[in-house]
């Protein structure tokens, strides 16, 4: 006796039936009931017998057709443009990106060629570099921060662009909506604007004595004012005072630190900017020299000796950016790829740095850290 047959059911929508004409080679396509249906035993037997015969024929046919292997066409090696605004961070970011591609089976030189342009913090160079990449007719441009992405967007409406470190892609005019970007550009947002309040809170929690907190920012960045306003709101709630120190170019940096040294704040918040990323080692060193507790947006600052960082994991972000590139190289349109928002944020605390500057991080705060550098 047969085991009890699970009740099988076949469903075909009207559209599927219409499409069946195109794929009529598939036996079930143009059959009303394919036997996976509930019927009287006799009817099922006849129905199934017919189906059986059809399937036998199909099995042989598919066996024969399997012999004809489809020839892989040899195509040119795709070129991936990488438009970095900073340089010091560039290496680590690029490594993370390349690792992401490797994990997806790409081998440099065989499956892709990387065309790398780096503005080294001098954002004014980016448009020319973007045009250069467009002239090279690369297949995709990875333009991580907002300044690179905007430069690339200005340079081409054709070549797909992937951004990775943009805080508010809609607000900055890169995409029309997160779920449906619409143009030739998509990527990953950092939600730094959402996180600023959290950063203020964390800093004051890590350094409860801090009353005057300095904010290092680049007013040329489109989001800076928004961030400043949000942080002020939080500061008022937490009863701390914020002071802004502006840096527009690499050269401004020394002057800004001169000001900070003069003002002697209790703590420092460093906002996201290519200039800061490019000079993170120097910033971290200067801050340490001033024994100034500071919070940054990216883990690579704490890795370079910074005290605290809270934000997206850069490695994970660029691995995901590699995923976008992979899908674009496989034919996906950027307009169909929604902007991914970060779901994981990383709180990194560098106890070594704390010890060096003679700072004691409260135990409660230390316990919150996702990663502790000791």
């Amino acid at each position: 006796m047969l085991p009890t047959r699970p009740r099988l059911r076949h469903t075909t929508t009207a559209t599927a039936r219409k499409k069946a004409g195109l794929i009529s080679s598939y036996p079930f396509a143009n059959r009303r009931a394919i036997g996976w249906s509930i019927k009287g035993p006799r009817v099922v037997a006849i129905e199934n017998m017919k189906e059986f015969v059809v399937t036998v024929a199909l099995a042989f046919a598919s066996l024969l057709s399997a012999g004809a292997a489809d020839a892989q066409e040899t195509r040119r090696i795709p070129r991936v443009g990488f438009l970095a605004a900073s340089h010091a961070s560039g290496d680590q970011i690029v490594q993370a990106f390349m690792r992401g591609l490797r994990e997806r089976g790409y081998v440099e030189g065989r499956d892709f060629v990387l065309e790398r342009r780096s503005a080294e913090g001098r954002v004014e160079l980016l448009p020319a570099m973007a045009n250069e990449l467009v002239k090279l007719n690369v297949d995709v441009i990875v333009a991580p921060p907002i300044s690179s992405a905007l430069a690339a967007q200005k340079a081409t409406r054709r070549i797909p662009i992937v951004f990775a470190l943009v805080s508010d892609p809609v607000g900055s005019g890169l995409v029309s909506s997160l779920s449906r970007p619409g143009g030739n550009i998509t990527g990953l947002s950092t939600r730094s604007d959402d996180l600023i309040a959290k950063m203020v809170e964390m800093l004051s929690e890590a350094v409860p004595s801090a009353i005057r907190i300095a904010v290092l920012l680049n007013p040329a960045e489109p989001l800076t004012e928004t961030l400043w306003k949000r942080s002020e709101v939080t500061a008022r709630a937490l009863k701390v005072r914020l002071e802004r120190f502006e840096v527009r170019t690499n050269e401004d940096l020394e002057r800004a630190f001169g000001h900070i040294a003069k003002r002697r704040p209790d703590a420092l918040i460093v906002l996201t900017d290519p200039i800061f990323l490019s000079h993170r080692e120097r910033i971290v060193r200067e801050v340490a020299d001033m024994r100034l507790p500071a919070i940054y947006s990216f883990g690579n600052f704490t890795e370079a000796g910074g005290l605290i960082s809270y934000g997206v994991d850069l490695n994970a972000t660029f691995a995901r950016a590699a995923g976008y590139v992979d899908r674009i190289l496989r034919g996906a349109k950027p307009s169909d790829l929604p902007v991914e928002q970060p779901a994981r944020f990383e709180l990194v605390v560098n106890l070594k740095a704390a010890a060096r500057m003679g700072l004691t991080i409260p135990r409660a705060f230390e316990l919150r850290a996702d990663r502790v550098i000791e």
Binding site: L2, P3, R5, P6, R7, L8, R9, H10, T11, T12, T13, T15, A16, K19, I23, Y26, F28, A29, I34, G35, W36, N48, M49, F52, T55, V56, L58, A59, F60, S62, L63, V170, S177, L178, S179, R180, R191, D194, L195, A197, K198, V200, E201, T234, A237, L238, R327, D336, L337, P338, V339, E340, Q341, A343, R344, F345, A364, L367, R368, D370
Partner: protein
């Protein structure tokens, strides 16, 4: 006879058909059930995958809810401390569960007491009122509330999970769960090689999919057939795991889809596997069945072939035996050892063949004996005829020569008349003897036709010349229709046939006319002889060709025939292979027809031409004959033709006579039978040996027995049979003298 193959084919068809039908039936039934089982197992497997996926995803969400129970437990502290304590717990909880973005605690009135977020500043006692929120109204007394899916930040699917503490005064923890984290689970679910699983909410919205962008794009799958089917189930109760369907996936490919509901959440987990992959074991089993079927069929065919062969073999043997028997091979025996009815049949057959062989050999024996008797009788008759004609021949020969000589002498009128009558009688007698001689020659098989192409008119001309006068004398109209056709035949023998027929016609026709003519029929010439005689009744038309047979005709002139004419015609027609037929209406007349093949061109008959030239005067003829009469007759005739003759009775006498004469003879004529044991051949050879080997020789014999004919033929000398007609002898001599060499029979 070719029917034996049919029996084999019939057996082969029968056995093979049966075997193939059996094999097909068994294999197809087997294949069908195996296919069904495979199908069920494939479907079951798909369902199990779906169920497993549903369990894992359900577990993922349930785990969050279960862990939330811990942070709703009552606390030691109270007031501010309690909240701070709780914040610590919440923060730890957020570290533990990355999927939760915010978590808040509501008091029993629905006021927010605490909010801990990954994005926002933590807040205490914000006073926000959640008392109308389903998240607050949902859970009571330790139960869990799962809210509907909602979207945050345009792309992220979120779900609110609320858990109330176990006591009635317990706080309620409300967590915002980022459902993107289900991706971690769903992307790890392996469905075959390329299959995938995805989760759809109760409204058809895609909650989780290995392709994250589909989720971020807020895809709705409620139009997909399988989703429609799954969501279309009216009640939760019916949404058991019960279906695996072949449908089109969202990307258009055909997939085997199964689904399983997560009843606590109202979601449905779908697993889809491309049909080629899902049904691969099905195809493999079909292929296996197919190969087995082919093998079994091949075996069945081979088996039935051998079986049919073995069944047919004894029958074929019997058939061949019967065929051999029919062909006369009576000692053929059938060998069949099947140990059944067929062997019995073969034994019976062999027994029958034994009996047949016996009776046949008995019969054959009788036939041989009877034939021998008949042959002996026939030979006796031939011998009698030959001897009789030989004995008659010698005096006839002499008589002919004498009467010829007599007629050529100047005689008184009345004696001349007498001499002429004697000569006529001698000629008639000679003809009669010739006929008898011919008959005996033909019976002895000593006549070999010499076929040649010649105009038929040669014969017709002579016939006309021979019979016109006698026919007119009888008061008959005689007409010969001439023809330009050539025939292929022996001119002498054919002329003899026609001559006999015309002579009969003239003889047996009292009044009316005789017509001789030719008709062309395909490759033949029909020589026809028409008469208006008394006709031959149908019953006798065969008999008239028998020797000495004469129609009982009262009006017939009995003196004129011996009844041998048609007998000779019959024998000649066989020798020449010219069919002779007769048609006759009694009282109206008869027609005799000889069919002769057409010849190639007109040629004059060589043999007919040879007659008639003269012999040089003074030719010296050596004549050896033991019979004085015959010798003197011949001598007279030869001398009449201007020859000089040396006559002798033996070789010895001849040699001495030639020596006397002192001249070498130009030609030697010798009787075959000389005195003593000497033959004519020896005599001729003797003279030639003494003088010249080039001297032509002619044999004359009254004895035409086969032995004599044989000896003459092998010696190479021409043999003339007695009585020799003077004209014939003369023609031969003139021919020999002209060629001056032995006339050799070329046959």
């Amino acid at each position: 006879m070719k029917r034996s193959g049919r029996l084999f084919r019939k057996y082969l068809g029968l056995i093979g058909g049966l075997a193939i039908t059996l094999v097909l039936t068994v294999e197809l039934i087997e294949g069908y059930f195996s296919y069904e089982e495979q199908k069920i197992s494939v479907a079951t497997l798909a369902q199990e995958k779906a169920s497993a996926a549903a369990v894992r995803i359900g577990q993922f969400v349930q785990d969050i809810a279960n862990q939330m129970v811990w942070i709703t437990l009552p606390q030691l502290e109270s007031g501010e401390d309690a909240l701070k304590r709780r914040r610590f717990e919440f923060r730890n909880f957020l570290r533990q569960v990355p999927a939760i973005t915010d978590i808040r605690q509501l008091d029993r009135t629905g006021r927010e007491q605490l909010l801990v977020s990954r994005l926002e500043r933590d807040t205490f006692n914000s006073g926000n009122d959640f008392s109308n929120d389903p998240a607050f109204l949902g859970p009571h007394g330790g139960s869990t509330y799962f809210g509907p899916i909602h979207i945050r930040g345009q792309t992220e699917p979120y779900m609110t999970v609320a858990v109330s503490g176990p006591r009635s005064d317990s706080a309620i923890a409300v967590a915002e769960v980022n459902l993107r984290f289900i991706w971690d689970v769903i992307s790890q679910i392996r469905v075959g090689q390329t299959g995938q699983a995805y989760v759809v909410g109760s409204d058809g919205r895609l909650i989780a999919h290995p392709e994250l962008s589909l989720v971020l794009r807020n895809t709705n799958y409620s139009d997909l057939a399988q989703v429609k089917a799954a969501l279309g189930k009216p009640t939760q109760q019916d949404r058991r795991v019960d279906a695996a369907t072949v449908v089109q996936s969202a990307t258009g490919g055909w997939v085997l889809a199964a689904y399983a509901p997560i009843t606590t959440l109202g979601w449905t987990v779908f697993v889809e596997e491309p049909v080629e992959e899902a049904l691969a074991p099905l195809y493999a089993s079909l292929l296996r069945i197919g190969i087995l079927l082919l093998l079994a069929l091949a075996l069945a065919v081979a088996g039935s072939y051998i079986l049919a062969r073995r069944m047919v073999a004894p029958i074929t043997a019997l058939e061949r035996g019967a065929q051999e028997l029919a062909a006369g091979v009576l000692d053929h025996r059938v060998s069949v050892h099947t140990g059944d009815e067929l062997e019995t049949l073969a034994d019976r057959f062999n027994y029958m063949a034994d009996r047949l062989d016996e009776s046949y050999s008995e019969l054959e024996h009788k036939v041989v004996r009877r034939t021998l008797e008949l042959e002996m009788a026939n030979r006796a008759k031939s011998r009698f005829l030959a001897v009789a004609s030989h004995d008659l021949r010698q005096p006839m020969h002499a008589l002919g020569l004498f009467s010829s000589r007599l007629s050529s002498k100047p005689l008184p009128h009345d004696i001349r008349r007498l001499a002429q009558q004697i000569e006529a009688s001698v000629v008639a007698l000679g003809n009669l003897l010739d006929t008898l001689l011919d008959m005996s020659k033909l019976d002895a098989g000593a006549v070999a036709p010499e076929m040649a192409d010649f105009p038929v008119s040669d014969i017709l001309d002579r016939i006309e010349g021979s019979f016109r006068a006698s026919a007119l004398a009888k008061g008959l109209k005689f007409r010969v229709v001439h023809s330009s056709a050539s025939v292929r035949s022996d001119p002498v023998l054919l002329e003899r046939i026609v001559l006999n027929l015309v002579s009969n016609a003239v003889r047996y026709t009292a009044r009316g006319s005789i017509v001789v003519g030719c008709r062309r029929r395909n490759a033949c010439i029909r020589i026809e002889v028409w008469d208006t005689g008394s006709g031959i009744p149908l019953d006798f038309q065969r008999d008239i060709f028998r020797e000495f047979y004469q129609l009982p005709n009262p009006g017939r002139d009995g003196e004129k025939g011996m009844g041998l004419g048609l007998a000779i015609v019959d024998r000649l027609s066989r020798v020449l292979d010219h069919p002779v037929r007769v048609e006759s209406t009694p009282g109206r007349g008869s027609v005799f027809v000889v069919e002769v093949p057409l010849g190639k061109s007109r040629q004059t008959a060589a043999r007919a031409d040879a007659i008639g030239a003269g012999i040089a005067r003074g030719t010296l003829v050596a004549l050896i004959d033991g019979n004085a009469l015959a010798r003197d007759g011949a001598r007279g005739a030869l001398e009449d033709w201007g020859c000089e003759v040396i006559a002798a009775v033996s070789l010895g006498e001849m040699l001495s006579r030639i020596a006397e004469r002192g001249r070498e003879p130009d030609i030697i004529i010798s009787d075959y039978h000389l005195d003593g044991e000497e033959t004519g051949i020896e005599a001729i050879e003797g003279v030639r040996a003494a003088y010249s080997a080039g001297i032509p020789g002619v044999l004359i014999s009254g004895d035409t027995t086969p032995a004599v004919l044989q000896a003459a033929e092998s010696s190479g000398y021409v043999l003339l049979s007695k009585p020799v007609r003077p004209m014939k002898l003369r023609a031969l001599l003139s021919h020999l003298m002209r060629t001056h060499e032995s006339y050799r029979i070329t046959s």
